[in-house]
């Protein structure tokens, strides 16, 4: 019970402290800024975003066409007689004479033409929408029926195309053929219903809707579309979602970071540390208000956008992950500017990890790496399973927990108030969680607990490289994955070495390497088994995570890798680290090439 009281006391202090600080000076300004923000948003909505004004230059002879084009601020329109236009044709991106568009052929002109085509299509639609005989203006309707196919990584592993083109003969299905009823030839909607929908979709011609168009592309007509409405869903909605949900989290975690940092400035936190309260209670107590605050913000946002509340579930691990990182950043940085840079760096990387996969939300399973994909799915009312949840959030839970543990163990005077540079500090933090009595057990555990981080980095690289055409993506992934694993394995050995270079005698070195290799392998298999079976079945997976089959081969590989690093550390000291890592990575790559892909021999 004492533990809980401690936590709640500290949480109350934290709230009180930040509230008094906030209310005195900040609140009046914050209110003014908020009012200004509302006013400016209104102004921006009215006047539009003028970021891309005047990008293209167009020469036109017909005033009606000029008026039509000038309605899009992206064009600077010059009206002149055809003779003059003809003479200065290259001064413009596009020249329009007698209803014919001529392009100057540059990249800018190509883009201008695309924009013009889109604008013109909108204009044509607006004319046709007024047509009394709607089916003369829109004589063709497409009823889009989607068919579910078992989507596996194998089938689209390159991210591109899967089918080998068959011969001349029509493909014959192998499985059962279920009868498909012949579709009726009539639309299920009245002319007026269709017209309303057309007007609705084409009227959104504001500058902001250029970016958000697809967000509301889902019409009430659902599947019925005119040919021009038939285009792939660019996942802009997930881009917007990311910023709606992630930005406040990032913002709030800044406060937590700062609160930790403030304890360290001028040793203010000494008082707190001298009380008989456990460091875990201090950290939890300080964190809980922010956690609740973030959750409240997310709930409010969810209710505001009228999304189902279930999207909070995938957000919780993200919040935990953000807070854990904020804790460590607050504990690690020496100065405000360091804090700023590290936190900007962290938030960029984290945002891209969250954001990149969800771009593929409607397209590929890889998107499930990010918890935000679950949010996208929930909003689209597509179901997801507990397995999906585990799959996309387990890494966030695990890394969050490990980081918190490191933070709690290091929350004490000599760590908080030291002024050492960043990297030695990180090393100190790590050596704090390693037990001196059981160095080998510690190395084993450290290697094991590095696995969630390794997976995260590797998955991040997978989403990055996934975009590249096939051979490059595989090669880059191969090298990068090997490097990451070797780095992770080297951490334990390096920490041991930095603590006491003399510790690495021949016998100890072998034992530590073995412990690292075993720890790495065990954790890898365990985590794979629980979560990532889907990815690990693919070619990409086989590079990232050694396949589940034979065990002694990968063990040998891990052992060899870490041994190379350890030996170069022993012989060349700290300078040997880089050499060792490069060599180990090379060995790792060769192994992968040989055994998994069978490219050599």
């Amino acid at each position: 019970m004492g533990w809980l009281t401690d936590i709640s006391t500290i949480a109350r202090w934290e709230v009180k402290k930040s509230l008094t600080m906030m209310s005195r000076e900040v609140l009046p300004f914050a209110i003014v800024l908020f009012i200004l923000l509302v006013a400016v948003t209104g102004f921006a909505a009215q006047s539009g975003m003028h970021l891309q004004d005047g990008m293209y230059e167009v020469g036109v002879d017909d005033p009606r066409v000029a008026e039509l084009i000038a309605s899009d601020a992206r064009f600077s329109v010059y009206r002149a007689d055809p003779a003059i236009l003809e003479k200065n044709r290259n001064a413009f991106d596009l020249v329009i004479m007698n209803g014919q568009v001529y392009s100057s052929g540059t990249d800018r002109a190509k883009a201008a033409q695309k924009t013009l085509e889109r604008d013109y299509a909108k204009y044509v639609n607006s004319v046709y929408n007024r047509e009394s005989d709607l089916f003369a203006a829109y004589p063709l309707w497409i009823d889009v029926q989607t068919v579910k196919s078992e989507l596996t990584f194998l089938s689209t592993q390159s991210g591109q195309y899967v089918q080998a083109a068959p011969g001349r003969k029509a493909p014959v299905p192998e499985g059962e053929i279920s009868a498909i009823p012949t579709p009726s030839a009539s639309l299920d909607f009245t002319k007026e219903e269709l017209r309303q929908e057309l007007v609705k979709t084409s009227s959104k011609n504001t500058q902001i809707s250029r970016y958000t168009e697809v967000l509301s592309a889902e019409s009430t007509m659902g599947r019925f579309k005119t040919p021009s409405q038939l285009s792939p869903p660019l996942p802009f909605d997930s881009i917007i979602l990311i910023f709606v949900f992630i930005f406040p989290l990032y913002f709030t975690s800044q406060f937590f970071m700062m609160s930790i940092m403030n304890e360290r400035i001028e040793r203010k936190g000494e008082v707190l540390l001298s009380t008989p309260v456990a460091s875990s209670s201090i950290i939890l107590g300080k964190m809980i208000p922010y956690f609740i605050g973030m959750l409240a913000i997310c709930t409010a946002l969810t209710l505001y956008v009228r999304a189902p509340l279930i999207i909070l579930l995938p957000l919780i691990p993200v919040i935990v992950f953000f807070l854990a990182n904020a804790l460590l950043i607050g504990m690690l940085s020496r100065s405000f500017k360091e804090l700023s840079f590290i936190s900007i760096f962290f938030s960029t990387v984290a945002t891209s990890y969250l954001f990149f996969p969800s771009i593929f939300a409607n397209v590929h399973v890889i998107s499930l790496i990010s918890p935000l994909t679950l949010i996208v799915l929930s909003i689209q009312a597509s179901p997801w399973t507990v397995t999906d949840y585990l799959y996309s959030t387990s890494l966030f839970w695990l890394t969050g927990a490990v980081l918190f543990y490191i933070g709690i163990r290091n929350f004490k005077e000599e760590r908080l108030f030291s002024e050492k540079p960043l990297l030695p500090r990180i090393r100190e933090f790590l050596s704090e969680i390693m037990s001196r009595k059981h160095p080998f057990l510690s190395v084993f555990l450290l290697a094991g607990f590095s696995i969630p981080f390794v997976f995260m980095v590797q998955l991040m690289s997978l989403t990055l490289f996934f975009n590249l055409p096939m051979p490059y993506s595989l090669v880059l992934l191969l090298i990068f994955a090997a490097l990451v694993e070797e780095c992770a394995k080297a951490v334990g050995i390096y920490t041991l070495f930095a603590q006491d270079p003399a510790f690495l005698t021949g016998k100890n070195l072998l034992a530590a390497c073995a412990a690292t290799a075993i720890g790495f392998l065990v954790a890898e298999k365990l985590l794979l088994f629980i979560t990532l079976a889907q990815i690990s079945e693919s070619v990409f997976g086989s590079i990232l995570f050694l396949s589940l089959g034979v065990l002694w081969m990968p063990l040998l590989l891990h052992f060899a890798g870490v041994l190379i690093v350890a030996c170069s550390l022993k012989f060349w000291g700290r300078k040997g680290l880089v050499i060792g890592l490069v060599t180990a990575t090379a060995v790792h790559c060769l192994y992968n090439l040989y055994f998994i892909l069978g490219w050599i021999g």
Partner: protein, 359 residues
């Protein structure tokens, strides 16, 4: 105010940045974002404009055609993108499920000149990259057919749009607007935002670490210290923005007027840096100052974006080469805002210096 004092302060801050190796993080960050956005470009391009990857341009997609004969069948057969198999609907859909086909089309028995529209049913796979591409290619075919049908029914139309003949596009240009109209202004402007956040850190640090007394006891005055910090942050902007421009150019994105772009960024960033300095001088405490500043930043940027020919728009136009002499007007307007803010900063700093001496 002495120039030597300013440079002493600026040098001190730079030394701090290099000693902490935070500058390294900034470089890493920049590289990461560059990689990120170029990967994003390649990915999106190959996803939404497959012909950009020459390797795939000759790929033929298998399509099943069911139902009645129509011009669509003809268009599909002559299209270089498709291989069409006339099939029974149920068999076609079953093959589609097994991924042996990319799409199945069913065309009903509606006469082209009928009162009713022609309703084509299109079966594609859910959640598939490929079907997204097939959709795009099929769209062209359908649009052609729609045009034909419209021509047949033209007598029934009351009002015809102004005719405009657009030449067949030669591909490309899809991401021009994204790159030049969004990526470049945001990336080039990011250093300004970082620099303004940095100036807050530098100033509040002196207050919170109580190093101010030591600094003031030297011949350097309080306002010289503030301006020295502003100078240090300001110098970072052209370095970082220049690095961005270089990175973008290395990525094969041609940027015109790089020098003028830098000039605009450097001048505009001074507004943000001075705003940051003012906030920091007012609050003397990082959390509050950063909070107020970032909220103010959102307000300012949103407001500026809503103004026609704003500095960010100017960056876009400079990069694509359509900026005219009005850029100097914008620069002058920015300059006058800077003078006002600079005056305010000076006053605030003088007052801050005095109160500090008194206290």
């Amino acid at each position: 105010m002495k120039a030597r004092h300013l440079s002493i302060i600026a040098k001190k801050e730079f030394r701090g940045l290099f000693n902490e190796r935070t500058i390294l993080l900034a470089v890493l960050l920049q590289l990461f974002i560059a990689m990120f956005s170029s990967f994003l470009m390649v990915g999106l391009t190959s996803m939404y404009d497959p012909s950009s990857l020459s390797k795939y341009s000759r790929y033929k997609y298998n399509i099943a055609y069911a139902g009645n004969d129509s011009a669509v069948l003809e268009y599909l057969q002559t299209s270089p993108d498709f291989r069409v198999y006339p099939m029974d609907l149920s068999t076609g859909v079953a093959a589609l499920k097994e991924r042996k086909l990319s799409a199945v089309i069913y065309v009903p028995d509606t006469s082209p000149s009928a009162d009713e529209p022609v309703k084509i049913t299109l079966y594609t796979l859910t959640n598939d990259l490929q079907s997204a591409i097939v959709d795009v290619k099929l769209k062209d075919v359908f649009l052609k057919y729609e045009k034909d049908l419209r021509q047949i029914r033209i007598d029934r139309l009351g009002e015809l749009p102004i005719p405009l003949q657009v030449p067949k596009s030669s591909g490309g240009g899809d991401f021009y607007e994204f790159v030049y109209g969004l990526l470049i202004p945001l990336l080039v402007f990011m250093p300004a935002i970082i620099a303004s956040a940095l100036v807050i850190d530098l100033i509040t640090e002196e207050y919170q670490h109580e190093t101010l007394e030591t600094l003031i006891s030297t011949p350097i005055t309080f306002s010289e210290m503030v301006w020295g910090k502003v100078l240090a942050c300001e110098l970072l902007v052209p370095i970082q923005a220049g690095a961005w421009l270089l990175l973008l150019m290395v990525n094969g994105i041609a940027i015109q007027n790089a020098g003028l772009i830098l000039l605009q960024v450097v001048v505009t960033s001074l507004i943000l840096i001075l705003l940051g300095a003012l906030t920091a001088l007012h609050y003397r405490e990082r959390t509050a100052a950063q909070f107020i500043f970032s909220t103010a930043l959102v307000v300012v940027i949103l407001f500026v974006l809503a103004l026609p020919s704003n500095p960010l728009n100017l960056l876009t136009r400079l990069a694509v080469g359509t900026a005219g002499p009005e850029q100097w007007l914008v620069l002058a307007a920015t300059g006058s805002v800077i003078i006002i803010l600079g005056y305010l900063t000076q006053k605030y700093a003088e007052r801050g210096g005095k109160s500090h001496h008194a206290g």
